[in-house]
Amino acid sequence: MTGVSRRRILGSLAAGSVALAAPSIVRAGAGSARVVIVGGGFGGATAARYLKLGAPQLQVTLIEPAKRFYTCPFSNLYLAGLRSWESIGHGYDGLRGVGIELVHAQAEDVDTRLRTVRLSTGQTLGWDRLVLSPGVDMRWNALEGYDEAASLLAPHAWKAGPQTQLLRRQMEAMEDGGSFVMVIPENPFRCPPGPYERAAMLAHYFSRHNPRAKILLLDAKDNFSKKGLFQQGWKALYGDMIEWVGLTDDGLVTRVDAKALEVQTAFGQVHKASVLNVIPPQKAGFIAERAGVVDASGWVPVKAESFETQRVAGIYALGDATIAAPMPKSAFAANTQAKLAAAAIVAELTGRVPPVASYANTCYSLLAPGYGISVAGVYRAEQGGIAEVPGSGGVSPANADAAFRAAEAAYGESWYAAISADIWGR
């Protein structure tokens, strides 16, 4: 088959004759097909690399506004002063080097009939398969008083970038013996253990620079990831510096006054902060909504065996934007979802048998240098959706010794180096 006729086949695909054109792709081979990926984080960048590994002739285009991607994992260590800002940043030269086309732009809209995506540059790209890995967007005003303007006074710092650096500056400038207040949302949200690791990392910083500081956690729920381990570690490492208030004890914040740095709880109690960190309710990144793949929850339902969206054939979604419970919204989870989706797409485009789905997660949290804890799980596709493999998974033991905690701290750092290299090449 000649290149010209391949392009004609892809043209017919773009015109929407999906059922007729799909077998043509199989005949033409994956080399003639184009996969566009939106989002260059843990899900999207992994998908790009593994699509190219699985089918080198495939045209793979990755759309990501940032020229350098700063990771949420280890951004708490930056806040603590344990990592430099640049050490959590990753460029895209490694992906370019394996033949992936990088487009630094914002994806603004998706036409599912014409199979195109429109970019902030005005450019429109055609695709045979589209992979959306847009992460989360904040639900502005879902928590009264907390909108984008408020986040410039009371940062969420839940996307690594200027928000994280703003929070660090506020920590440094906090008055002696001041009160750091963190507002924590109901599930589901990005990185379930993240707020509690952050509390420990703040305490590590304050215990050195502002030892009379207090950290108050106001939580919309009564339970959280690795709760027993966090509470044990906070106490052992930082005494009474961290106070956690759950839903039952009036931890649910219902109103934020970012100018006054005050929050009000469901029972009307007002807490005044020196530094206010509001982690608001979240939803899938807006491009998922534009593509019509989200449900009423604001997240993307996917097929458990492929991460193709349930709503639109040919569009896949990965990572924090998806409904993948019991898998958490984590970097590790997004990475394994991306590998499976990439293999499923390559199998479909080349007429091969798709692989059996298997996913995993391991999330390390650092409570202090040399003190780490973890949660892990292995998952598979079942008829009702994604399920944890019975007997697998769980958290670090409560009674572990110092050597165990030190090993998990070192493994967390080793994990970060490994997954970064797996994705960005370093």
Binding site: Y50, L53, G54, F332, N335, T336, K339, L340, A343, A347, R352, V353, P354, P355, V356, A357, S358, Y359, A360, T362, S374, A376, G377, V378, Y379, E388, V389, G391, S392, G393, G394, S396, F404, A407, E408, A410, Y411, E413, S414, W415, A417, A418, I419, A421, D422
Partner: protein, 110 residues
């Protein structure tokens, strides 16, 4: 007749390999693509192609039988000084573990 011949042959083969474990995935069902997916779960801690970049052990190029035994020991909670590996390996059956041991011993890449 055909069925019973097949059954006997299969049983001999399985007993001969010492690989008669209950579980959803048989070794024969594990295509290279499926093993590649299982291996993908390992490398984001153990490093690209199983070559570690830190304190987590490298698994590429280890002796296949030693690696398989070690992974089975994790799975069965028999290994000492383990952090996360017991929790993870309980998620894989003996056939999957054997396939992973072969994958990393041979230095396969995705």
């Amino acid at each position: 007749m055909a069925f019973s011949q097949f059954f006997v042959r299969s049983l001999i083969a399985l007993v001969g390999m010492g690989l008669f474990f209950p579980g959803p995935a048989r070794a024969a069902d594990l295509s290279d693509d499926s093993v590649s997916i299982l291996a993908g779960n390992c490398v984001n801690c153990h490093g690209p192609n199983g070559l570690s970049l830190g304190a987590i052990p490298t698994i590429r190029g280890l002796n296949e039988e030693q690696l398989r035994s070690r992974l089975m020991a994790f799975r069965e909670g028999r290994a000492a000084g383990v952090t996360v590996m017991t929790r993870l390996m309980k998620g894989y059956d003996a056939d999957q573990i054997a396939a992973l041991a072969k994958w990393f011993a041979r230095g396969e890449t995705p």
